[in-house]
Subunit: 211 residues, 2 copies
């Protein structure tokens, strides 16, 4: 039993160290710009162990994106949970979180959009993970705006419903803000997006709910 635990933690530790190094280097400089040898050095792992854990580079890339998706969404959700007193504040808290992210010194845009622009045409796996990430974000946003729908019957309205439409619009603002902040380096894109989101949310909460 103790042996198994040791092996397990040792294995997990190696996997984590590799993914940590991959996340830092891939996100910072791009995927194709980072070689497996540099990655091995950064992770402090032998080349044999590296290839034993991830049989090929594209497996590592996919694992990197999947773990980043989990962490990114968990971090967002934790912030929103902590900063949304009223239901109306929740969707706007998303943009406050974005601003803190944009201001981080290592911010370099959306890891998924970057990876998609780099490898989306070649690697099917990158396209799939990126799609799943964006869809999960939209689903999360729909959960946030659902309480704001004027009529409770809208909750099950489906694709044409107010919640789905508004969630889609907020998702566009988020992606736009991320790319704008990455290109210009100015975190203020989050506030611009927040102001737009406020107007869109107000349009739903008010009397005029027609779409």
């Amino acid at each position: 039993m103790a042996d198994h635990d040791d092996v397990r933690t040792r294995t997990d530790d190696v996997r984590t160290r590799i993914l940590d190094a991959a996340e830092k280097l891939f996100y910072e400089r791009g995927i194709q710009a980072v070689g497996m040898d540099e990655l091995r050095t950064a992770a402090g792992v032998s080349l044999k162990r590296l290839y034993g854990t991830f049989p090929a580079k594209h497996d590592l890339v996919e694992a990197y994106l999947r773990r980043r998706d989990e962490h990114w969404r968990a971090s967002l959700a934790a912030y929103v949970d902590a900063h949304s007193g009223t239901p109306g504040a929740a969707p706007l808290a998303v943009f406050d979180w974005l601003e803190t992210w944009f201001a981080a010194p290592d911010f370099r845009g959306c890891a998924f959009i970057n990876a998609y622009g780099e490898l989306g045409a070649t690697s099917e796996g990158v396209g799939r993970v990126t799609r799943e990430h964006k869809l999960a974000l939209r689903t999360y946003l729909a959960d946030l705006v659902r309480p704001l729908a004027a009529t409770a019957s809208d909750e099950a309205a489906g694709p044409g419903g107010v919640t789905t439409v508004l969630a889609g619009q907020l998702a566009l603002l988020i992606d736009g803000a991320i790319t704008a902040a990455a290109v210009t380096g100015d975190p203020a894109a989050a506030r611009t997006a927040r102001a737009a989101a406020e107007a869109l949310v107000r349009g739903v909460g008010g009397g005029r709910t027609g779409v």
Copy 2:
């Protein structure tokens, strides 16, 4: 004189053929995925002429992005000019143009965002051209929404003015729609963005102009 014309047209033709091939291949498959040799074959140009016209690959990449910026914005402006009867229709025509672009079979997202995700961390030139492209788009959008500002005095209000803010918001929707359409493959992102833009524009044109 005739000689000079011949040389000039011949030279321009070579340059154009190279840029045509570069645009097709770089946009379709990514920049790093296309080698200079394949590019030479596609352009029907000798390797010597290729390097005589563009001393290095990054020069060709930058020229590709610059020409694409010109063509892209010219195509957008032509469509908006032709489809904006009233001043209020002009900003929305932008999103109609986006939808036709998204539906094109070779659509693969924003060439600049793709290039930035791939080389932005390495190449300063790519970052610069991308920044200029996005700034030019914002300036164009500001020109489109300026007539909608409720008070004429806002025209010279500067960064905090209604036109600048609204133009920035529309730019976020545009970038978001482009990436969403690229990732999901669904041109409907343009309509979602258009609906959001409509709401934002209405907020300015109506009585409530406070920001």
